[in-house]
């Protein structure tokens, strides 16, 4: 339990834990001490720990006391051959400097800069860090996805429907442009706008004739669709005949005209 606590919680929160006391008769297993020392996040963390542990006032730090405490921890870390980050030594220098500045008599005329408490910057940093340290812990206590709650995920089987490619008119236009650009068919296959409707009608007529039987000529026309359509249909039938796709028969003069898909008879 206590070991778990140690690894999970900032050391400064464990007030009065005998484990953290300096060796005053009490035996500390060396690896436990190492764990404790390693757990400091840096000089600020260590200082905060000392301040809280010895009930010092952050806003009125007794520099001599704090510096002494700090130095003894640094020594202990060095004894245990812990890799001591440069920041720890730098902080030691800072503490000593503040301490000595406080020993100097204050100049009688207090200009704004000189008059500042030599501890002010250190205090600001300690408070700011402590705030963030606490914030970190609060963040850690918020429920986290995957750790403290699971996200719902229900399966979708996507075997249900195959997706088909979509084609737009623009795709067809591009395809045609590509063809034109490649081939010399410019002249060959020039087709007018109106002729597209003729082509469509040719397809329509051929569909009507699909049975292979003769169909009465007038049945191929839809009278209700208006004159332009009738003309187009007529041209379509002529075009089909020209391309040998249909044959047109009239058995007697003024008799009925019949159309059917062409048979081998018309072979050239």
């Amino acid at each position: 339990m206590s070991e778990l606590q140690l690894s999970l919680h900032p050391i400064a929160r464990i007030h009065g834990e005998p484990l953290l006391e300096l060796p005053q008769g009490l035996y500390i297993p060396p690896d436990a001490l190492e764990l404790v020392l390693e757990n400091f996040q840096g000089p600020l963390d260590l200082l905060l720990y000392l301040i809280r542990k010895h009930n010092l006032d952050v806003l009125d730090i007794p520099m001599a006391e704090l510096t002494r405490q700090y130095m003894s921890y640094i020594e202990m870390m060095q004894q245990h051959r812990l890799e001591l980050a440069a920041e720890y030594l730098l902080m030691a220098a800072v503490l000593i400097e503040i301490k000595s500045r406080m020993l100097l008599p204050r100049p009688p005329k207090v200009s704004e800069e000189d008059g500042e408490d030599p501890r002010a910057e250190l205090m600001r940093r300690l408070l700011e860090y402590e705030q963030m340290k606490q914030a970190a812990q609060q963040l850690n206590e918020l429920p986290q996805a995957g750790r403290d709650f699971e996200i719902v995920q229900v399966l979708i089987e996507n075997t249900v429907r195959e997706r088909l490619p979509e084609v737009s008119v623009e795709d067809l236009r591009q395809a045609w442009l590509g063809l034109l650009a490649r081939a010399k068919l410019n002249t060959h296959h020039k087709v007018r706008r109106e002729q597209l409707s003729v082509r469509e009608q040719m397809t329509h007529v051929l569909r009507c004739l699909q049975g292979g039987e003769y169909v009465a000529f007038d049945q191929l026309f839809e009278l209700e669709s208006g004159v332009p359509k009738l003309v187009v249909t007529f041209i379509a039938i002529l075009e089909l005949a020209k391309e040998y796709l249909v044959e047109i028969q009239q058995s007697e003069i003024f008799g009925s005209i019949y159309v059917r898909t062409s048979r081998a008879i018309t072979a050239e």
Binding site: E150, I151, V152, Q153, V154, L155, I156, E157, N158, V160, R161, R163, L164, P165, E166, V167, S168, V169, D171, L172, R173, Q174, A175, W176, L177, G178, L179, L180, A181, R182, A183, L185, N186, H189, K190, V191, R192, R193, L196, S197, R199, E200, M202, T203, L206, R207, L209, Q210, E243, Y244, L245, T261, S262, R263, A264, T266, A267
Partner: protein, 218 residues
């Protein structure tokens, strides 16, 4: 926080999913869970477990969710009840080879697709050109298409377009070999959102565009 002894709050109003509980199951489960968890609460736990797992959960796994030991039959009765509770929803509880799992009903697919617009596949240039030729020159034979494209047209291409319902053979040309004549279908017009073939860009426009390009390039 720390004083929670009971796994779930007991004071809750009856859970809304509760359909008429069969008296049998209630009896089984007040016995089963004693003061700890009632059937409905245990169902909520199973439900939460199944909803948060995409892999099917075997009965042997689901057993771990209970504080008391359950036999397979009891658990399966509960699972069937749960499946029942869900049957009107868009998601259903199903039993598959390796266990139980929730899945979206197939009829939800059309809606869910709207949220995951996977890039639709595209047709190759060969397919598009073939389609364009059939659209503009119909009725045409495979030979016509090959002549215009300058390369052989694989049967695969025509099959693709036929399978899609966009082209069909509407007859044969009366030349040696009786080649089939292909034309586009109404389906193709529908799918391209056209009322008639004339609504395709006219070839004249396309030609003009090309000439323009040629002259500006020259």
């Amino acid at each position: 926080m720390s004083e929670q002894v009971e796994p779930l709050p007991q004071s809750e109003a009856p859970l809304p999913v509760e359909t008429e509980p069969s008296p049998e199951s209630v009896t089984v489960c007040t016995d089963l869970f004693g003061g700890k968890m009632n059937t409905e609460q245990f169902k909520r736990v199973i439900e939460a477990a199944l909803l948060t797992t995409t892999e099917p959960l075997p009965v042997s796994e689901l057993k771990k969710l209970s504080d008391v030991s359950l036999d397979n039959h009891q658990l399966e009765t509960l699972l069937e009840e749960l499946a029942q509770d869900w049957q009107e929803r868009g998601v259903e509880l199903t039993r598959v080879a390796s266990g139980w799992r929730f899945r979206a009903k197939p009829e939800m697919q059309q809606y869910l697709d709207r949220l995951n617009p996977q890039k639709p596949p595209r047709y190759s240039r060969a397919v598009l050109e073939t389609l364009a030729i059939i659209a503009y020159h119909q009725p045409v034979t495979r030979g016509d298409i090959e002549e215009i494209r300058g390369v052989a047209v694989s049967s695969q291409i025509l099959k693709t377009l036929e399978a899609r319902g966009w082209i069909e053979a509407i007859g044969t040309r009366d030349t040696p070999g009786k080649p089939e004549l292909f034309a586009t279908t109404k389906q193709m017009l529908d799918d391209l959102n056209l009322r008639a073939l004339q609504e395709l860009p006219s070839l004249e426009e396309i030609g003009a565009l090309l000439e323009q390009e040629a002259t500006t390039a020259g």
